[in-house]
C-alpha cells in the first residue's frame, strides 16, 4: 500500500498534467461504457418489443413488408390484402394455438396533420395480448357495430374519453369510444381498434379481406416446419419475429462495428496519452530514480512505483468515465434515439453494474499494459547515469 501512497504523491506533483491525462482516459471510458450500454440495451429493448407483439409469426399478402409499412404510415389505402378464405385455412391448422386476424386501414387527415390508423380485430386480440390494460372503459361489446377502443396516444392526440363519438375521416360514419388502453410502449398505442366487421362495413372494398394474421403456435419448435408449409399457399408471405429481430440487429450491427472501432481508437489514443505522460515524468525524474536506486531501491521497486502510477491514473480515469456515462445516459439516450431509424420503446442504453465493473477492470488492465514500457524504462536506468543526468 505504501507504493500507492508514493505514486499518489508523485501524481499530485503535476496536477494539470495528471488532470488532463485523467480526462482523456475518462472520456474514452465514458464513450466505451455508453456504447456497450447501447449494445446491451438496444438488443433487450428490441426483443421486448418483438415479444410484446404476442405472436411469433405474421402472415401477410405477398409483397415487400417494408413497402407495406411505408404505405401504411404514409396513409395510402393501397395496402395489399389477403383473402379471408386463405386466412381461414391457416387459422384452422391444428398446430396453431391462437391466431389474430387483423385488417388495417390508414388514412392521412390533412386538417389534423395526422394519420389515423384503424385496425379491425376480433376477440383474439384480447387473448394474445392479455397485458393490455384499460385506463378507462372496457373492450368492444359483442355484437355492437359502431364502437371503438383507442390506444393511449391515439386517445391523447384528440383528448378523447369514453362516451365520445369520433368521425371516421373520409366517411360519414361515427364511432363511439368505449375504452382507452393504458400506455403499453408499443405500436398499439397509436391505433384505434374496431371490430373486423365494423371496418369492413365502413369500407365496403375491404369486404372479405385481411391485412394479415398473427399466429401463435402450440409448440415453438414447429416454427420452421410450419413456415415451410405456409409457402405452399400462393400469394402470402410469412414474417417470423425471430427474423425481424435478426434483420434489425443486422442493420444496427454494421453501425455498431463502426462505432466500436471508434471506441477502440479512442482507447488506444488514451493509452498512448498515458504512456506519453508517464514516460515524460519518468525522464523528468531521471535523477530522482537514480537517487532511489542509490538508497537501495531495486529494479523491481522502481518498476512497481511507475507501474502503479500508470495504473492509478487509468483506474481513476475509468472510474470517472463510468460515473460520467451513467450521469449522461439520459442525454445520450435521446441523442441516439433521434439518430436511429428504428428505436425500440424500452430504454436503449442500459448501463448495468456489471458493465461498469467490467469497464473499470478494463481501465485498470489498460493502465497496467500502458505502464509496462515506462516502468521498464525507469527500472533499467543505471543509478550513476541517472544521478549525473540531472546535474
Amino acid at each position: 500500500m505504501r507504493f500507492f501512497k508514493l505514486s499518489w504523491k508523485n501524481l499530485f506533483r503535476r496536477k494539470t498534467r495528471t488532470a488532463l491525462t485523467l480526462a482523456g482516459v475518462a472520456a474514452s471510458a465514458a464513450v466505451l461504457v455508453s456504447l456497450l450500454g447501447f449494445n446491451n440495451g438496444y438488443q433487450n429493448a428490441l426483443e421486448e418489443d418483438v415479444d410484446r407483439l404476442g405472436y411469433q409469426m405474421l402472415v401477410t399478402a405477398k409483397g415487400c413488408p417494408y413497402e407495406a409499412a411505408t404505405m401504411m404510415l404514409s396513409g395510402s389505402a393501397d395496402l395489399r390484402y389477403m383473402n379471408a378464405e386463405t386466412a381461414q385455412i391457416i387459422m384452422d391448422d391444428p398446430r396453431v394455438d391462437k391466431s389474430m386476424p387483423q385488417l388495417i386501414h390508414a388514412s392521412y387527415d390533412p386538417e389534423r396533420e395526422a394519420t389515423g390508423i384503424y385496425m379491425g380485430v376480433t376477440n383474439a386480440y384480447r387473448e394474445l395480448k392479455p397485458w393490455m390494460e384499460f385506463k378507462e372503459g372496457e373492450w368492444l361489446t359483442p355484437g355492437a357495430a359502431d364502437e371503438v377502443v383507442l390506444g393511449y396516444e391515439a386517445a391523447e392526440l384528440d383528448q378523447r374519453s369514453p362516451g365520445d363519438y369520433i368521425l371516421v375521416h373520409g366517411t360519414n360514419e361515427t364511432l363511439k369510444v368505449v375504452g382507452i388502453f393504458e400506455r403499453s410502449g408499443s405500436q398499439d398505442d397509436a391505433i384505434a381498434f374496431v371490430r373486423m366487421e365494423t371496418l369492413q362495413r365502413i369500407f365496403p372494398r375491404l369486404e372479405n379481406k385481411l391485412t394479415g394474421i398473427g399466429v401463435k403456435l402450440k409448440e415453438l419448435d414447429a416454427t420452421s416446419a410450419f413456415e415451410a408449409d405456409l409457402y405452399e399457399i400462393p400469394d402470402i408471405q410469412v414474417v417470423t419475429m425471430a427474423r425481424v429481430k435478426q434483420t434489425i440487429m443486422g442493420l444496427v450491427s454494421s453501425a455498431r462495428i463502426l462505432v466500436m472501432s471508434v471506441a477502440a481508437i479512442a482507447l488506444i489514443v488514451a493509452a498512448v496519452g498515458v504512456i506519453n505522460t508517464i514516460l515524460m515524468s519518468v525522464f523528468e525524474r531521471t535523477q530522482e530514480i537514480g537517487i532511489m536506486k542509490a538508497m537501495g531501491a531495486s529494479k523491481a521497486d522502481i518498476f512497481r512505483l511507475i507501474w502503479s502510477e500508470t495504473t492509478l491514473i487509468c483506474a481513476g480515469g475509468g472510474f470517472i468515465g463510468c460515473a460520467f456515462a451513467l450521469a449522461a445516459a439520459q442525454i445520450v439516450e435521446s441523442l441516439v434515439r433521434n439518430a436511429l431509424s428504428y428505436a425500440p420503446n424500452g430504454p436503449i442504453i442500459s448501463i448495468t453494474v456489471g458493465l461498469m465493473a467490467a469497464c473499470a477492470a478494463g481501465a485498470v488492465l489498460l493502465g497496467m499494459a500502458a505502464g509496462l514500457y515506462p516502468a521498464a524504462r525507469a527500472a533499467s536506468m543505471r543509478p550513476i547515469e541517472a544521478i549525473r543526468k540531472g546535474t
Partner: protein, 222 residues
C-alpha cells in the same frame, strides 16, 4: 570496512579515453573518518561511486564489509541497501515528500519496519522541529542534515559523502563534518567524504589526496 584494490576507471568517449582513476588502493576501517581531497576533475566522485557500488570499475575491485561488489544489479541493490549510505552535494531529497518521509524512503525499499527509526534519526541531526517540512521549505543546512539522516536509515556500515558541504556556508559545513566525526566515533561508521575545503580536513582521521586519478596517502593530520 571499505576497501579498494588496484581500482581503475576509464571512461571511453568516441575519440579519447579518460583515465579517471588509476590503480588506486584505499581502505577505511570501522570508526574511521577519511577525507578525500583534490582539484576538480581529479576523480573524487569516480572513487566514491565505485566504493559505493553505483558504478562498476574498469579494473581492480572495491569491497564493502568484506564483500566485493557483484556484477549483478539485483545483488548490488541489496548490498547498497544493507551497507552503504550516500550523501550528495545537491542533497537530492524528493521535493514532494516531507523530511520524515524522505528519511523513511530507504526503509521502505529495504522493507524494514519503520517504527521510530526515522524520528530518532531526524532528532539526532537536530531536526525534530522540521519533520513535516518539505525540502523547498528548508534551508540548505537543514536539507543536508535530512539527507544524512536518510543515508543512515538502513544502519549502513559505510557513509559516502561527495562534497556534502559544496552548497553550504562555513557554519553549516562545520556542523556537517562534526556530525560525521560523531557518527564515526559513536557508531563505528566508516565515513569517506570528498571536499575541497582544507579547513574541514582537521576533523578527519586521515586525508587522502587525488590528482589526475592517482591516489596518495597523506599522513594523519592530528
Amino acid at each position: 570496512m571499505v576497501k579498494a584494490t588496484q581500482l581503475s576507471k576509464t571512461y571511453r568517449l568516441p575519440n579519447e579515453s579518460i583515465h579517471a582513476l588509476k590503480k588506486a588502493d584505499f581502505e577505511a576501517s570501522a570508526g574511521e573518518f577519511v577525507i578525500v581531497m583534490g582539484p576538480s576533475g581529479a576523480g573524487k566522485t569516480t572513487l566514491l561511486n565505485l566504493l559505493g557500488g553505483l558504478d562498476a570499475p574498469t579494473e581492480g575491485s572495491a569491497a564493502v564489509n568484506g564483500q566485493t561488489w557483484s556484477k549483478n544489479e539485483k545483488e548490488r541493490a541489496k548490498m547498497r541497501q544493507e551497507t552503504v549510505g550516500f550523501v550528495f552535494q545537491e542533497f537530492h531529497l524528493l521535493p514532494n515528500l516531507t523530511a520524515l518521509e524522505n528519511v523513511e524512503m530507504p526503509l521502505f525499499f529495504s522493507r524494514k519496519k519503520n517504527g521510530r527509526i526515522a524520528h530518532e534519526l531526524l532528532e539526532a541531526v537536530g531536526l525534530e522541529h522540521r519533520k513535516e517540512h518539505r525540502p523547498p521549505e528548508m534551508s540548505g543546512g537543514e536539507m543536508q542534515r535530512t539527507a544524512i539522516a536518510r543515508a543512515l536509515a538502513n544502519r549502513p556500515k559505510v557513509l559516502l559523502a561527495d562534497e556534502p558541504t559544496g552548497n553550504l556556508d562555513v557554519r553549516n559545513s562545520m556542523a556537517v563534518f562534526q556530525l560525521f566525526r560523531k557518527l564515526a566515533d559513536s557508531q563505528g561508521l566508516a565515513v569517506v567524504a570528498a571536499t575541497h575545503n582544507a579547513k574541514l580536513a582537521a576533523l578527519a582521521d586521515r586525508v587522502v589526496r587525488l590528482r589526475d586519478g592517482v591516489l596518495n596517502e597523506e599522513r594523519s593530520p592530528a
